[in-house]
Subunit: 540 residues, 2 copies
């Protein structure tokens, strides 16, 4: 059973509502601010002044952690608690409620309670201005919450509304299996998608052997954020966890990193039945996956993707690889993981650009296979950018199901799976020309989809109206649809100097309508040139 | 149609018999000595004196090559032509006949023809002594020939005998397929076993695409020997051959070598459909195989094993790997080749120790699965050590069939395939303790089989008599059955310090009788100690 976590600005009535809600549901009530004041023996305001915000946030993070470690309760958080990425990830596993108030109500309630003396961040400027500013700053983070509830009315009415929402709440957990013909000894692998399912990891490891060791590989940024959380979920497991982390970023996806990881496994005498756990984004999944595919000719692999792009795309399908100085993903293999644990709560720490980056691939699934998914994303674009909890779970799940169906039909990318490369022929060239890191993969694919969509319009395959719809959806998701902040001439040269493109031998995936695409060969060189021009100027 | 190549000491009547045979079969006759004399404008003896043996052998090698390049003929070789390993490999692809004479006949014929003035190597000492010495030196090489014919009698009778032998000659080519479930996109791969089938390589490459490129990887020793032969068979192919070679030996089986090969492929922009050809022994097959398994997540692989051990063992089964400083074969994968081309003619250059090394694994197949194979090897041990042509082909083929059946039943080494590890638990430890290179793999496995056979006798599973039979067969094949030239104490320490062995958790494959073995766990530590003692002293 999940905790019920109340968030929102100071003055929205979290304590009052929380206490009533706890009573009604016969649960304990924890107010983390009260907890901190009791433990530290002073008011929050004093603590804030004496030790600074940074220290306070640290104390607050601990208080949230302790509250979550107890039996399922109603927990009211301080208004700024969600500023901690670690806290966001932790509470994203629970039921989260954002109590919203209109500014006048907020101001009135704050004045009623004593003018905000207990609430350090509300001092200075006018109260109204400060409230507005805080809301602007924190709205993107509060918006991740599962339920957004207006708390202007009477507390009893707010409580009733919350009880109703909770009763109808989705379980936010689902699983399905993928048949990986490449590995007859593991004919199927599980994909578990859920919100707050990281706690299932120790059980998966114990499944190999009650006292198995797991060899967790992460990047240093992910591990800095998630180590404490992993240690918490591991606390009671009889299995042993060994962990290592390499520097974050594509630059780590090298033979040298793989080599270091092989040595790490060898030094610990990791055995053939002991799983590697890949915890991170695409770079970690690809690198750790390649190491797991090749150490002792293959050890079990558990994938725990932590970025949206990895969750919806790279963590399933079995493609693993490292880069070579001469080409990306040049050294690799097909390696089916034993289990993919897609925990959407882990996304709660991602910066906005990374989120848009992931939705680009999901929208692509909509364009190629599923108009319904596309329409839903078009409608909910803003909420998706904010990672609104249940919506994110449902959209990630739908996207994974599409990808799973495609790769099961075509494991080795010889037919329908090629359609997943919509936007990629142009997108890869743009990504490379822009310099890796300047454009994120999803951003490049967004541009690629627009350029290829334009080509499809010119070929009379795709309606102008659908191209506009595609561009609008991408823009709403926070993705680029024109070449900006990129050296246009360099991109043009890069794309056009590709021998296959020049000779018309490149394979293009072009949209036919929203929800359908097809493979096209023999595309004229001039048309590609036109697409670049369109991406530069919005016209051919 | 193959050439008919006559070899033997000077004076055995190669020219006379050859001319008659050619007439009878309506073929051209080529005498390479005559050819050389005509071309160089002087006698062999003069050439030999003026330019030395080394130059002469070089000229002779060319003459043989030219003769073989023409239409199927009867070719008579100079007595020492088989001293060239490259010539041996070339003629091993043809019908080869060793004309043998008793020494008195040889002496008489040589005197008749003018006292050996034309035959430089017969001068000095007494003629009889020189003949005996030459025969001793060259017998191991002549003995590779397909047919051994006594030429003491009348040339017409010898010719009749040869015609009869040729009429009944085996085609010495067979093929079968192995189903590799690991690669559903290539559900079956071909194993072609034959004598002189290297010429099929260009056709295999053209099979991917008429103008494919093939990327051949060899070690420098193999390539030094075989480059000229590969170039000859490639002469008329429209496919392009790129080749590279790394230093020979286990020390090359590293991440660095693999890395260099990845770069080589990347620099030449090798594409996904272009095959890698692994030409060499186990080190080349494993390393090039691993590179082919991982470059672009896998490109087609053609295995051309050139050592006996690789032909009968490592080239099929799909296990590829490189070494890690901490353990052999630690980094690898399962990679089914598209085709394995097992050309037993390529063995003709191997030194004696390498040949025995290979037969160790074949005899093991007999011990574990096939008493008939064991008995045949016991009987023909000397001829096998000499690589007698048809016998070698038949034995390699039988051994491959056994291994193919086993790996098809158990591709991932979870059941019956483990039985192939007879001799390996002890053998690996002995090999490592002796220092790689001091004992060859097959030699270590020979010792391992003896030690494990002794353990099986002690456990009452295996008869003492069968152990003796096993030891005799190994000895006849030129393999060690006692620890000699090895630091005994070091071996003892290495074996006994293995944690699994100490704790009785190692997996042992022990023989039950000749032709059957089984898996045994829980072997007492003292028994292993006894086995080492037995290998040292021949008694426990």
């Amino acid at each position: 059973m999940r905790h019920i976590v109340l968030t929102g600005l100071s003055g929205t009535g979290k304590t009052t509502v929380g206490r009533l809600l706890a009573e009604k549901l016969r649960r304990a009530f924890v107010d983390t601010d009260e907890h901190i004041e009791r433990r530290e023996g002073c008011t929050i305001a004093t603590l804030f002044e004496a030790r600074g915000e940074r220290h306070f946030r640290h104390v607050e993070e601990d208080a949230v952690r302790e509250a979550l470690a107890g039996p399922p309760a109603v927990i009211s958080l301080g208004g700024g608690a969600i500023l901690s990425p670690r806290t966001r990830v932790r509470i994203a596993a629970e039921h989260t409620i954002w109590l919203q108030c209109s500014i006048p109500v907020l101001v009135a309630r704050t004045l009623e309670e004593g003018g905000g003396t207990r609430r350090p961040l509300l001092r200075g400027a006018t109260l109204e201005e400060r409230c507005e500013q805080l809301l602007r700053e924190r709205e993107p983070l509060y918006a991740q919450c599962q339920f957004h509830v207006c708390a202007d009315g009477a507390p009893e009415a707010v409580v009733d509304q919350i009880v109703g929402l909770l009763a109808a709440a989705s379980t936010a957990r689902a699983e399905f299996t993928i048949t990986a013909r490449a590995h007859p000894q593991h004919p199927e692998y599980r994909v578990i998608v859920g919100r707050g399912i990281l706690g299932e990891l120790p059980g998966l490891v114990e499944g190999y052997h009650p006292t198995s060791r797991a060899f967790l590989i992460a990047d240093q940024e992910v591990w800095q954020l998630l180590e404490a959380i992993v240690v918490d979920v591991w606390a009671t497991s009889p299995a042993t966890l060994h962990a290592t982390a390499f520097p974050a970023g594509e630059a780590s996806k090298t033979i040298e990193t793989a080599s270091g990881l092989w040595t790490w496994l060898a030094e610990q005498r990791a055995e053939r039945h002991e799983p590697v756990v890949a915890l991170g984004g695409g770079v970690v999944g690809d690198t750790a996956g390649f190491v797991a595919a090749t150490y002792m000719r293959g050890v079990p692999l558990l994938q725990i993707p932590t970025t949206l792009l990895a969750q919806v795309d790279s963590s399933i399908g079995g493609k693993v690889a490292i880069d070579h100085p001469l080409a990306k993903n040049l050294i690799g293999s097909f390696k089916a993981p034993d289990t993919v644990l897609v925990d959407t709560a882990l996304l709660a720490s991602l910066p906005a650009r990374q989120i848009s980056n992931g939705w680009a691939e999901v929208l692509k699934h909509g364009v190629v296979f599923d108009e319904e998914l596309f329409s839903a994303m078009e409608r909910d674009a803003l909420a998706l950018r904010r990672l609104r909890s249940d919506l994110t779970f449902a959209t990630v799940y739908r996207s994974l199901q599409i990808k799973a169906a495609v790769i099961q039909e075509d494991e080795f990318e010889q037919g329908v799976r090629m359609l997943l490369n919509l936007g990629h022929t142009l997108g890869h060239a743009i990504e490379a020309a822009a310099g890796y890191g300047n454009l994120l993969h999803g951003e490049a694919i967004s541009l690629g989809m627009v350029g290829e969509g334009w080509m499809a319009v010119r070929l009379g395959m795709f309606r102008e109206r659908d191209l506009q719809r595609l561009e609008q959806a991408l823009e709403r998701l926070g993705l680029p649809i024109r070449l900006e902040r990129v050296d246009h001439e360099h991109v043009r040269q890069a794309v056009l100097s590709d021998k296959k493109v020049r000779q018309g031998r490149a394979t293009w995936i072009l949209p036919v309508r929203i929800g359908e695409a097809k493979i096209v060969h023999d595309v004229d060189f001039g048309l590609v040139n036109g697409a670049i021009h369109y991406l530069e100027h919005g016209e051919a």
